[in-house]
């Protein structure tokens, strides 16, 4: 496959609805990240998956946000009871692992899912 694939590319929803955003990482990449990109806030870390380790959820802004990664590949970011302040571009990235297990530090980003909450 080409690169990291995200869907949907655009999502408009009403306040209070739940949304799911999907990320297909590059095959073989063990690390997967979710970031939120919004004007004035830059690139905000949300969650990080690394192989079979417990995910680093330290960036999730509230318990309305959750993410899972099935089979070490596809990931879904779920936002429950969306609020207008959730409007942003949600970026997914994946990263390969070097021989020996270290991360390279180079992230390959998707094109993002633009979420608009009315």
């Amino acid at each position: 496959g080409a690169g990291v694939s995200q869907s949907p590319s655009n999502k408009v929803t009403e306040k209070g609805k739940d949304v799911e955003l999907r990320c297909d990482p590059i095959s073989g990449h063990t690390a997967l990240y979710w970031y939120r990109q919004s004007l004035g806030q830059g690139l905000e870390f949300l969650i990080y998956f690394q192989g079979n380790s417990a995910p680093d959820k330290s960036g999730l802004p509230s318990d309305r946000f959750s993410a899972e990664r099935t089979g070490g590949s596809v990931s879904t970011l779920t936002i429950q009871r969306t609020q207008q302040e959730d409007s942003a571009v949600y970026l997914c990235a994946s990263s390969p692992r070097l021989a020996g297990g270290a991360n390279t530090g180079e992230l390959f980003f998707g094109e993002g899912s633009r979420l608009t909450v009315l």
Binding site: G42, L43, Q50, G101, A102, N103, G105, E106
Partner: protein, 111 residues
């Protein structure tokens, strides 16, 4: 805690002028620093990393541990350099090191 500060939201320069995008970081250990770039309508992508000590598209960045800085520099700006630039930091390569980004700086190169 990991923190990256990019003090300028927007930097506007004329073509041919020198460019310096500032980045300061906070990290208790030995960090790895990166610059990422996002051109208009393109994906965010890696520009350079400090451990490689390389020059990419004429840009260089030196890690200054004393000043905890990793400023991005180019001696002569080109119009095609106009983009959003993000400085990023992680702990030493290994398991469980997330990448934390700064707020970004928009570079506009005017003709």
């Amino acid at each position: 805690a990991q923190r990256v500060t990019q003090p300028e939201k927007l930097l506007s320069v004329f073509k041919g002028a020198p460019v310096e995008l500032k980045c300061n970081y906070s990290y208790s250990g030995s960090p790895e620093l990166f610059w990422y770039v996002q051109y208009s309508r393109q994906r965010l992508q890696l520009l350079l990393r400090h451990i490689s000590r390389e020059s990419i598209k004429g840009f260089t960045a030196d890690l200054n541990k004393g000043e905890t800085s990793f400023h991005l520099k180019k001696p002569f700006a080109q119009e095609e350099d106009s983009a959003m630039y993000y400085c990023a930091l992680s702990g030493p390569s290994g398991y469980g090191n997330k990448l934390v980004f700064g707020a970004g700086t928009i570079l506009r190169v005017k003709s």
